[in-house]
């Protein structure tokens, strides 16, 4: 019986030991190799003192070792915390401190960044996969794989134990850690497998980095059906011509990405040059797919099935809408219905359900619901909508902050946000966090972050800055400052210094007018 995430590969390694589990460029891992190597890593982690409930960081870009790291950490009883190697070091340090990571799994390619990181965080005592110049002890992958993996003590891991923490933009300026247990993540994998017709012949394309929840598809859903996952290398994701060739060459049958990636593939004009007959499913999530582009894609790949998925990382995913017929290219695509083991409410501002067809905030109750935000009970409670059934027994819904309404077919339509969180090219960004970063600069008095949107698909972030009296600072310096504290996708494209801000009659900063001014410049 499969109760935990690592049971997935333990089962697969018995039923299909030689089947390929993961592949990246010219490296592959069969299920039996993955099971062995993950065991070897877990024994090492236990031997250096990792205990159940500890957090272990994964500091890697997309590569085959990510799979060993994920399963090895889980088998040791610890939870994995993916750290984006492209993020500014200060952000990574904040995360490592927040969840008290003492051990990192990495690769030799990250050597120089690891050196910088361990210098800033003395709490890191062990590094696997590369040897830091100073500080903690490093263990090479070769040494991990040379161990005899038979003698370690067995750790009892329950489905209720923590499996991973995903950090996302927090409105206060500090990233928040979304905790998922083995139960919530395995529930997601089971529901997805139950909803769609995947089998062991499928080949999943996984472009998502580990710190984004869509990676659960490639790392857990695919292994649950003993399918193969292609980890798409970073370079291919940045060059759509090569990405298109890779999808064809690897005969990918299940693709899941943000719409933007699919639009870039379409615009690379290479989809007629290759053979894509293996492609059965195209899933997309993370932002609205502009219907005219989706229509064009469906015309180029008419044999594939298309499905819009929806869910904040707190739930991983919770609704789906399969496109049954050709679309007009004008009507927006519904986010659909909640799937198995999941229910929802649409709430008004008084926390009461709205009438059918009225707009309200989507609240979802599901087996895939996170445990909460790491070390932040207050924020966790604020994000939950509780319905008391009896003393000590509540039904807990997650408040998504997304505004929705039901259409005439009983499907949910996404209408926008009730706060200042946005999605830009599929990335989740809190505008308040971006503002708080600029406010940290000693010469900055006031900040307004706005979205400039000539067209829906060409949105850019812009920031208007008002400096303190007698201060002088260049836009370049502000850009450098913000890129040291924000992930690259959240650094505004336009940075403009204003003598004063336009204000509304009540004295609030008039962001709409600021957006117009920047737009005209």
């Amino acid at each position: 019986m499969i109760y935990t995430l690592h049971h997935i590969i333990e089962e697969a390694s018995k039923s299909a030991p030689h089947a390929i589990a993961f592949s990246c460029l010219n490296k592959t891992l069969s299920y039996s190799e993955l099971e062995l190597k993950a065991n070897q890593l877990s024994y090492h982690l236990i031997s250096v003192g990792i205990q159940k409930g500890d957090r272990v960081g994964i500091f890697m870009n997309r590569c085959i070792e990510t799979a060993i790291a994920v399963y090895g950490i889980l088998k040791s009883g610890a939870a994995y915390v993916p750290l984006d190697p492209f993020a500014p070091i200060s952000r990574t340090v904040t995360i490592v401190d927040d969840c008290q990571i003492a051990c990192l799994i990495s690769t030799p390619q990250q050597q120089s960044k690891i050196n910088t990181l361990v210098k800033s965080v003395p709490r890191i005592k062990n590094v696997v996969g590369c040897e830091p110049m100073v500080g903690p002890s490093g263990t090479k992958w070769e040494d991990i794989f040379a161990q005899k993996a038979t003698t370690a003590k067995r750790i009892e891991i329950l489905e209720d134990d923590l499996a991973f923490i995903l950090y996302t933009s927090g409105s206060t300026g500090k990233p928040k850690g979304i905790m998922h247990t083995h139960y919530s993540a395995l529930s997601l994998a089971k529901i997805v497998v139950d909803t769609f017709d995947f089998d062991e012949d499928d080949i999943f394309g996984n472009p998502a980095p580990l710190h984004f929840d869509p990676s659960t598809f490639g790392y857990f859903v695919a292994p649950l059906v003993m399918a193969k996952t292609i980890i798409v290398p970073d370079a291919h994701l940045r060059l759509p011509v090569s990405l298109s060739a890779l999808i064809a060459k690897e005969k990918i049958s299940v693709w899941y990405s943000v719409p933007l990636m699919l639009i870039q593939l379409l615009q690379s004009n290479t989809l007629n040059e290759h053979e894509f007959s293996s492609l059965r499913w195209v899933f997309f999530a993370g932002e609205v797919f502009i219907p005219k582009h989706l229509k064009a894609l469906m015309e180029v790949w008419p044999h594939a099935k298309y499905c819009n998925l929806y869910g904040p990382a707190e739930l991983i995913l919770c609704t789906y809408h399969e496109l049954k017929e050709t679309i007009t290219g004008e009507e927006s695509i519904p986010i659909g219905r909640t799937w198995a083991n999941t229910e929802h409410l649409v709430l008004n501002e008084q926390n009461q359900p709205v009438r059918n067809g009225e707009t309200g905030e989507l609240a979802v109750r599901s087996a895939t619901l996170m445990r909460g935000y790491w070390n932040n009970v207050k924020l966790t409670e604020k994000s939950f909508h509780r319905i008391k059934i009896a003393n000590g027994y509540d039904h807990i819904y997650y408040r998504t902050g997304d505004l929705v309404k039901l259409n005439k077919d009983g499907e949910l339509l996404f209408l926008g946000r009730n706060d200042r969180q946005i999605k830009l090219r599929g990335y989740r960004i809190e505008l308040d966090e971006v503002e708080s970063v600029f406010l940290k600069h000693e010469k900055v008095l006031e900040v307004a972050v706005v979205i400039i949107a000539l067209e829906k698909e060409a949105q850019e972030l812009a920031v208007a800055i008002k400096l303190k009296d007698d201060s002088d600072v260049s836009e370049a310096e502000l850009r450098q400052f913000s890129s040291e504290h924000l992930p690259a996708y959240a650094v505004p494209t336009y940075i403009e210094i204003f003598d004063d801000f336009p204000r509304t009659s009540s004295g609030k900063i008039n962001r709409r007018q600021i957006a117009d001014i920047i737009d005209q410049n």
């Binding site: 870009n61 090569s242 004009n269």
Partner: protein, 77 residues
């Protein structure tokens, strides 16, 4: 040419603080250059060397490292 391209990446594209880039470093995998950065780099090369790079040539094989970029430019000159 090597210096011009390396300097352009360091000064105008990468958001990381780097002093140099080795010829065989994976520009995309290391995060030195992102998608928008790659578009900027290609536009720069076209202007600087008076070339026209067809979109079908914008591949991993031609643009992953500075060495590959130099070889590619030689091949289409």
């Amino acid at each position: 040419m090597k210096e011009t391209i390396t300097n352009y990446i360091i000064e105008h594209i990468t958001k990381q603080k780097v002093s140099g880039i080795s010829e065989d470093e994976d520009l995309l995998g290391s995060g030195l250059v992102d998608s928008l950065g790659m578009m900027k780099l290609i536009a720069f090369i076209e202007k600087e060397y008076n070339l026209s790079i067809p979109s079908k040539d914008m591949t991993v094989e031609n643009f992953m490292t500075i060495e590959q970029i130099l070889n590619y430019i030689e091949s289409i000159k």
